[in-house]
Symmetry: C2
C-alpha cells in the first residue's frame, strides 16, 4: 500500500514540520490538517503547513490513508475519539508522542479495530507552535515505530516508507523498550534541565540577574531544553512514569556517588568519569547526531 | 598604568584565545607565552598564539606588566612558584580559573608581596588545547575580577581595561560570592552533565549504541558539556568544594520534589515549573548570552 492522502491532527512544531517536509520531499502526497486552536489554523494557512486546513477534525481525516496525531500525549485519546467516526476503513493511525506504551493503550481504547502503529520521530527544538516547524527537522534523525504484535506488515512498511521519504531513518522496537531508552536519552535530560533552571531561579543568595549574566559557563545550555513546551513535557512525565522514575533513581545514585567523591577529595574517581564521558560525545558526532563544531556552532560571539 | 607586555602561562583554549584576542584587538601589547608541554609550545608557534613562545616560564614573564596564568586551578600554585623569581617588581599576576577563593590563596602562598588580582572570564567551549582557541571567545562575555581588599585601584583598573579591550564586559565581586554564583551557573551544570552521560553509558538494559542513536531527544546537549577537559573540571570540583556541595544539595532537593510530583501524578506542579523556566531562557537571550536561533543554530539537519 502507498500513502497518497495524509491527515495531520495538531499543527505545532511536529505537525507543521511533517506538513512542510511532505511538501518538500514527498510532494505527491495530498495533505490536510486540523488544530483545535483557531489561531493555529490561521497561521497554518498563512504558512501553508498543509494543503488544506480544515475547521474540524473529521473533515481532515476523511479519505486519508495515514492520520498522524501530533498533539501532547495526554491529549491523544480525545483527539482519537474526535476522528473515530470519520476514518476510512483502510486508514493507518499513527502519532509522534514521546512515550509509546501509554499512547498505544489510549489509541486502542479510542479506536477499536483500527490499524494503529505508534511512532516517535526523535527530533525537535525548544520552540513550539505553528511558526516553529521546518521541512528539514527529520533529516538524518531516527523515527522509532512501535507496532503492536498483530500489526499488518504492509501497514508497517508503508509508515516506515513514509518516514524514510521525509529524510528520517527508521527503527522498530517494542513500546516498553522505547519508553526505557527515551527515558534516558530525552526525558531525564529534560527533567534535570527543568530542575536546575528552577533551582537557579529560586536562590536567595545569588540573584536571578547574576544567573543570567554568567550563564555562558554552562547553565545556558540547560535553559534551551528548559524552554520546551510545558504541556507536552508535563504529559511525557506523567505518561512514562515507571521508566522515568527508574532512570531517575539510577541518575541520583550516580550523582550521590560523585557527591561523595567531591566531599572526600577523590580526584581520581572524578577524572575517570570525566574521561569516559568525552568518548560518548565523539560517538554522538560520528553517528551524525550532533554538530561537530565547538559550542554547537553558536554564533553569539560577536 | 598601561599594559604593554603580557605573559601567558598555559597555551590551551583560554591562554591561546587571550593571545589571539590581543593580536586582533590590542595589537600594541607585546605577548610572550609558555606551556610546560613541548608539543603545545610547538603548536603555539605554528598558530602564532603569542608573539614569542618561550621554553621556560621565567623567560616568558621577565619584563611583563601582566602575567595571566591559564592552567587548571590545581596547577596554579606550582605555575606561580615557577615564575616567582623572574617577575618584574611592578607586575600584576592574574589567572582565568573557574574557582577564585582557592586560587587566591594558592597565589598568595606562592607569590608573597606580589600584586595578585584573580579573574575569571566566563567563556569557553568543550574543546581544549592549543588548537581550540579563537580571538572572539571573550566578545560580549563577562569577565569577573575578584581583587583582594587591599588591591591597588590602579592595578584593578588596568586589568579591567585589558579585558574590556578584548571585547569582554567586566564585573568585580568578592571571591566567595563568585564561587557561589559559578557553582550554580557552571559547576553544577557540568557535574550533572558528566553524571547523566555516565549513567547512560553504564546501563545494562539500554545499549550504548541506542543512547547515541536517539541522543537528539535532549541527551546530546549534555554530551557537549561532558566532553570538557577532565583535568580542568576535576580541579574545579575539588577547589570549589563547599559551594558545589551546597548548590548540589539544593538541586537534589528540588529534583526530589519533582520526582514526588511525577510519582503522585501532580501535573500542575510540573506545568508550573516548566512554565517558569521558559522565562529564564528568554532572559538569557535578551542579555546577549546565547544564540536565539532554535537548537543553538545547529546545522546538522542536512
Amino acid at each position: 500500500m502507498t500513502i497518497t492522502r495524509l491527515a495531520i491532527i495538531g499543527l505545532g512544531l511536529l505537525g507543521g514540520s511533517i506538513g512542510l517536509a511532505v511538501r518538500e520531499h514527498a510532494g505527491a502526497i495530498a495533505t490536510a490538517g486540523y488544530d483545535r486552536d483557531p489561531r493555529v489554523r490561521e497561521k497554518a494557512r498563512e504558512r501553508g503547513l498543509v494543503g488544506t486546513v480544515c475547521d474540524n477534525p473529521a473533515d481532515a481525516v476523511r479519505d486519508a490513508d495515514l492520520v498522524v496525531l501530533c498533539v501532547p500525549v495526554g491529549a491523544m485519546e480525545e483527539a482519537a475519539r474526535e476522528i473515530a467516526g470519520a476514518l476510512s476503513p483502510h486508514a493507518i493511525v499513527s502519532d509522534v508522542g514521546s512515550s509509546k506504551q501509554s499512547v498505544a493503550e489510549a489509541l486502542e481504547r479510542a479506536l477499536p479495530g483500527v490499524c494503529i502503529i505508534p511512532a516517535h520521530p526523535v527530533a525537535g527544538t525548544e520552540q513550539s507552535g505553528p511558526e516553529a516547524g521546518f521541512a528539514s527537522l527529520f533529516t538524518n534523525r531516527w523515527c522509532i515505530l512501535t507496532p503492536p504484535d498483530d500489526a499488518e506488515e504492509e501497514a508497517v512498511a508503508a509508515l516506515s516508507g513514509f518516514w524514510t521519504s521525509l529524510g528520517a531513518r527508521v527503527e522498530i522496537m517494542e513500546a516498553a523498550h522505547h519508553d526505557l531508552v527515551l527515558a534516558v536519552t530525552s526525558h531525564i535530560p529534560h527533567l534535570i534541565a527543568f530542575t536546575i533552571v528552577g533551582t537557579a531561579s529560586d536562590l536567595e543568595d545569588v540573584t536571578r540577574s547574576e544567573v543570567i549574566k554568567y550563564s555562558a559557563g554552562g547553565f545556558r545550555d540547560f535553559t534551551r531544553i528548559a524552554a520546551s513546551d510545558p504541556v507536552m513535557w508535563r504529559d511525557v512525565f506523567l505518561s512514562n512514569r515507571p521508566a522515568v522514575l527508574e532512570m531517575l533513581g539510577r541518575f541520583t545514585e550516580d550523582l550521590t556517588a560523585l557527591q561523595r567523591a567531591i566531599r572526600s577529595g577523590d580526584g581520581e574517581a572524578l577524572h575517570d568519569l570525566f574521561s569516559r564521558t568525552r568518548a560518548i560525545r565523539r560517538a554522538v558526532i560520528e553517528e551524525g547526531q550532533d554538530d561537530e563544531r565547538p559550542d554547537f556552532g553558536r554564533e553569539d560571539h560577536g
